[in-house]
């Protein structure tokens, strides 16, 4: 996990790739999460030090984010995903419609990824939950992928999960 003080300026991130599609179309097939994450991972990893393993790691993280947006289940509006790069870090900005009632949930879930007890929460989730909650998925990204997660609510009714993944450093 990384503190906000270690973050580069927004302008430092260079755009790599993005897609946008109707939520209805996205929600029509669960396999879209796997297909999109695999394709985007390959495209953005080709010039990383170890393209094959970087792609595998990145696909794993992006798929979890796409599954989170899939499970949010709002068929109206559009889903957008943009990937940026700054040095060893890829930034994923995933924008999807979020009903007002779920916003507080996402605020809390994102906040918990930064708490001191994030690791204990994550272990507790593995130990007790029948299925992973979206909160557990964000904790997984934070703990297993060294991700920094934040929430952007500037474009309602959509929310944007902004996830920085320093995978070039992790894939050694």
């Amino acid at each position: 996990m990384h503190g906000a003080e270690n973050q580069p300026t927004e302008a430092a991130f260079e755009p790599l790739l993005q897609f946008e599609m109707e939520m209805g179309a996205f929600l029509s097939d669960w396999n879209h999460c796997d297909q999109l994450s695999t394709f985007m991972a390959r495209m953005i990893s080709h010039n990383r030090t170890d393209p094959v393993r970087h792609s595998n790691f990145f696909s794993s993280a992006l798929n979890e984010l796409l599954e989170v947006s899939f499970r949010s289940g709002s068929p109206d509006g559009r889903i957008g995903c943009a990937v940026y790069r700054w040095g060893p870090t890829e930034r994923v900005e995933l924008t999807f419609p979020c009903p007002p009632g779920q916003r507080q949930f996402y605020r809390e879930a994102v906040s918990k990824t930064r708490d001191g007890d994030a690791h204990a929460r994550y272990l507790d989730s593995i130990s007790t939950d029948l299925a992973p909650s979206r909160e557990a998925v964000l904790l997984d990204l934070s703990i297993n992928f060294d991700a920094n997660v934040r929430l952007d609510e500037s474009d309602p009714p959509s929310i944007t999960l902004v996830v920085d993944l320093p995978l070039e450093g992790v894939v050694r």
Binding site: W30, N31, C33, D34, Q35, T38, F39, R42, M43, H46, N47, T49, D50, P51, V52, R53, N56, F57, S59, S60, N63, E64, E67, Y122, L123, S125, I126, S127, D129, L130, A131, P132, A136, V137, D140, N144, F145, V170, V171, R172
Partner: protein, 392 residues
């Protein structure tokens, strides 16, 4: 890059003999119900085993949190009800997230431990992944390339192909092939991080950015099925204790109609004049020494059999002799000196050979060098180049 075959279906099996539950491929279900049969298989395996259950995830390419939680739950519940067994999760160092994710289970239940598989795959690994091997590899490629640049087109390599060099070592063959044959894409994989670091440094120094160097286990590659027109694997089947397993992987990543090209030696056929007897004795001993560490450096002439058994057709086999007459004889001598250092200086010592054996063993290499540098001498190192086509 290939844009087909996104989702590789996953496979799970339980082998009661080795008490191993193995799951491989891409496991990304929407709910645990979709993998209920596999979960039941794992539960059945836990019921059946005594002492230890190995959970093999080394070929697990992807697993989402839904599947991970479902499997973790079964293992953790079993820890609570079955204190008599322990669980060993076998991961691969290539797929880094598996090691990270499964290691958490040990924090919750110490009965679950995680082991990294690759480090003990083949017995001779420590010798060939040692950085002291780099000078050997570098000079060897320089010598063999003189022959192989003419041989490779006969085995089907053409410009514009997608190519993979598996067990690429320090990446010099990939660099040469890239320059000579201009592949559309070239992936170079090796299991030695030191060799890959060297390869990347060299590529960077020459401004080459289009070789995809990747860390991987050749017997368990992350590369997808049927991706490459031409797959090379040079001097490597002979140093794996399971060459058939490696060849199966080469077959898998090759496109139907594409070809897999392998080179291997028959070390006991290394020769030289003068001092032929001493040279012959030492190289017979080289073959025995490698055999002790479960490597078959006599594999060259067996290439056809291996290719047939792996399912290839249209097999081509030829041999060539690298000699002291190929360019500078000191290059040949350098290779032999490097062999002496590793074979006599490290491997024979590790086998526990007595000093008098090692002295005689060293003498054969020195006589080979003598023959190579002698004005009237001749020294040779035979290599078999073979390829097969993956049927359409």
């Amino acid at each position: 890059m290939s844009t087909t075959a996104f989702a590789v279906p996953f496979k799970a099996e339980f082998d009661p003999n080795s008490q191993e539950f193995a799951i491989s491929g891409v496991v990304r279900p929407r709910s645990a119900d979709e993998i209920a049969a596999t979960i039941s298989m794992l539960k059945g395996a836990i019921e059946e085993v005594r002492g230890v259950l190995y959970v093999n995830v080394k070929r697990l390419v992807q697993m989402n949190n839904t599947a991970y939680h479902a499997f973790a739950r079964v293992l953790l519940d079993a820890c609570r009800t079955r204190s008599d067994i322990r669980f060993v999760v076998v991961t691969s160092s290539v797929v880094g997230w598996t090691e990270r994710m499964f290691a958490h289970l040990n924090k919750i239940e110490p009965q679950v431990t995680v082991e990294v598989y690759d480090s003990k795959f083949y017995p001779g690994q420590s010798f060939v992944e040692n950085t002291s091997f780099i000078p050997i590899l570098r000079t060897q490629t320089k010598m063999t390339w003189r022959h192989e640049r003419a041989i490779l087109p006969r085995h089907g390599l053409r410009p514009g192909m997608t190519m993979a060099d598996i067990c690429c070592g320090i990446g010099d063959f990939a660099m040469l092939a890239r320059k000579e044959f201009q592949p559309a894409r070239i992936v170079a994989l090796d299991h030695s991080k030191a060799s890959l670091a060297y390869a990347r440094d060299v590529a960077s120094g020459f401004g080459v950015t289009d070789i995809e160097y990747t860390y991987g286990d050749a017997s368990e590659m992350l590369l997808e099925d049927s991706q490459f027109d031409f797959v090379t694997c040079r001097h490597s089947l002979q140093i794996f204790n399971q060459p058939d397993v490696l060849l199966k992987e080469l077959f898998r990543i090759c496109k139907p109609g594409g070809r897999v090209y392998i080179t291997n030696e028959k070390n006991s056929h290394c020769l030289g004049e003068p001092r032929a007897q001493s040279i012959q004795w030492t190289y017979n001993e080289v073959a025995k020494l490698f055999s002790h560490f479960e490597m078959d450096v006599e594999l060259g002439p067996k290439s056809k059999r291996y290719l047939v058994d792996a399912g290839f057709d249209d097999i081509i086999v030829e041999s060539f002799m690298v000699t002291n007459l190929d360019g500078d004889p000191h290059d040949f001598a350098d290779i032999i000196a490097a062999w002496e250092n590793v074979y006599a200086g490290e491997m024979a010592v590790k086998r526990g050979d007595p000093p008098e054996f090692i002295d005689r063993f060293r003498q054969g290499f020195r006589d080979h060098i003598f023959a190579a540098l002698h004005p009237k001498g001749y020294a040779g190192w035979p290599i078999w180049a073979a390829s097969g086509r993956k049927p359409l």
